[in-house]
Symmetry: C2
Subunit: 124 residues, 2 copies
DNA sequence: CCATAATTTCAATAATTGTTGAGATATTGA
DNA sequence: TCAATATCTCAACAATTATTGAAATTATGG
């Protein structure tokens, strides 16, 4: 997802708060299944009201999404939004400077290549 | 540069403000030469006092750096800090999820490959 | 339909962040 | 040394953002 500056500002603001950053991390780990609002609140030690506030903030910022499942509201990471933010940072904010993009590419390779494939990922 | 969570929080906070985000963008464009505080303030339409406040904020967050050059204070982008933030986002925050890393890798290739080399960057 | 569970909403308050203008510092050229 | 330039610092104020607890909403099983 291509982010424009106002959306990027929102996303940075959403991630600039400890409780919310921890929520995102937990939801990324949880994967597409997601977690119920209450469980997230417990995991980050926030009251139900505070958890609700921060989850709404993250959802407005496009970093997570929600669905109802019976009595619970299940939140999950929005990987499109998260990758949009990484892209914004690399492309729009850092103007594609090699000092930023080369390390990023290295992380991408390190994280996403099947184990043992690093050495000759380009050789097949 | 490897960022820990508190530094990442600071960096996100620094980028979550319009004036500061514009300052970073301008300084990235300006490259290692940088720009004088006054020129940056003019470029983003901020009073000297406000510019000083925001530049100090960005410097504390490790996204820019400063040096004195005669009467002026020259600020320039800190590419290590910026790339550290991209890395944090990909690795620590998004746990290296392919949904985030694959698009990032694509941006890295698109931005950093010498023109015309995209097609067969892996073929040599 | 009722009692309960999960979550959100709201208003009051607290805390953090940003703006402004006046004055303080540092540097230079005359 | 003096006047001028560039920038920073500080305190007062304004604005935004976060926390709290109570009440409202939505859904479910009995």
């Amino acid at each position: 997802m291509k982010l424009e500056e106002p959306q990027a500002l929102n996303a940075f603001g959403a991630l600039s708060q400890e409780t919310r950053l921890r929520m995102v991390r937990i939801l990324v780990q949880a994967g597409p299944e997601g977690m119920a609002a209450g469980a997230i609140g417990d995991a980050v030690d926030a009251s139900s009201s505070s958890a609700s506030f921060h989850l709404a903030h993250l959802e407005r910022a496009g970093l997570i999404q929600s669905r109802r499942e019976s009595r619970s509201i299940i939140y999950s990471a929005n990987f499109e939004g998260l990758s949009g933010l990484v892209e914004f940072l690399m492309r729009d904010c850092c103007s594609g400077h090699p000092e930023v993009c080369i390390p990023a590419a290295a992380v991408a390779v390190e994280c996403c290549m099947p184990a043992g494939a690093k050495e000759n990922a380009c050789a097949r």
